[in-house]
Amino acid sequence: MNEKRKRPKGQLFALVASAVIALLLGYFLGNYFEYGSPDKPPKLDSATLLPQAADLPDFELMDQNGQVFNNQNLQGKWHFLFFGYTHCPDVCPTTLLRLTEVYNRTAAEHDLQANTDVIFVSVDPGRDTPQHLKKYVEYFAKYFIGLTGKKEQIDKLSKALGIAYSIHPPEAEDEPDNYLVDHSAAILLINPQGQFQAVFLGEQDPQKIADDFIKIAKFVE
């Protein structure tokens, strides 16, 4: 197609391309058999399905009632996970309200809906105490769980899920509690085995998220 390209280069390209295709093919075939299912992964609009669900590291956080929350608490239910901070007036409430919409739109799948919770993990434990989180998450819905805890424990979980965040220094010295936090806007999906299953990035439409969630749940189960 490009006349200027010399032949040897073209051949090299073809060689590399076929090697890449062969690798990808092997990878997908491998997953195909690992799932033990003849089904093809569903076509998704808003989510990226992990080729293979990933185990989470052992973590221990605290929920909004001051109870320990660890890997065991993820068993048996689907969980949408979002990392943020309660002093965030824009992206966090927008995302959490969107997740209540997603939940409402799974109503036709009674069993799935009954087995779905939303978890808000604070990346700002300095301000987000369990008592503070309780008022916050319960505002959105009764199936919301708020988690906070030691920074190392939060980092363990966030790193495993590819979530980045950065806490800014306070804007004024006399207001040490007034600072901003940058954080990943991804919504993560954890399967009932407590494994990282899929990620939703940048999707605004709750219907698309709900549709993809139902497809993923049906495919995996």
Binding site: P89, P93, L97, K135, F140, L180, D182, G202, Q204
Partner: protein, 145 residues
């Protein structure tokens, strides 16, 4: 005494007239203003609106205030490498004849420390100052959305 009360009356009339006059001469027009209801006790809320500049020159919003909040800043949420970052916008410029929209996930009013708890259905008044010295009063309803 009569003179004093007449003077008082004139002053009162002028005072009541003043916002009307200001509104008439305003070239910035605020529409669809709303405040997002927040979880109880949160020290920060988000406010949204669209502002149209009906004049022939660019105008910047230099200040927004409200008796319902301790302070207000203009902010912008930007997405960078999948990260949501919020930054203060020191001056929001509205080009002549154009509309700037403040909406969730973009530019917004950052409302600090509500004086009293606000619930969906409440109305909040604001005052906006433009770089051309105009002042615009507007009200926003509190919504859960």
């Amino acid at each position: 005494m009569k003179l004093l009360s007449a003077f008082f009356y004139v002053c009162l009339t002028l005072l009541t007239l003043q916002p009307v006059l200001a509104a008439d001469s305003a070239t910035l027009q605020v529409e669809n203003a709303w405040v997002r209801e927040g979880p109880p006790g949160m020290p920060m809320m988000g406010g949204f609106m669209s502002v149209t500049n009906n004049s022939t020159g660019d105008v910047s919003i230099t200040r927004i205030s409200s008796p319902a909040f301790k302070s207000i800043e203009l902010h912008e949420t930007i997405m960078q490498d999948g990260m949501a970052k919020m930054r203060e916008v020191s001056e929001l410029r509205i080009p002549a004849g154009q509309t700037v929209v403040l909406e969730p996930g973009g530019k917004h009013m950052m409302l600090f420390n509500p004086v009293k708890p606000l619930k969906a259905g409440d109305t909040v008044t604001f005052q906006l100052s433009g770089s051309d010295d105009q002042r615009v009063e507007f009200s926003a309803s509190v919504k859960r959305r």
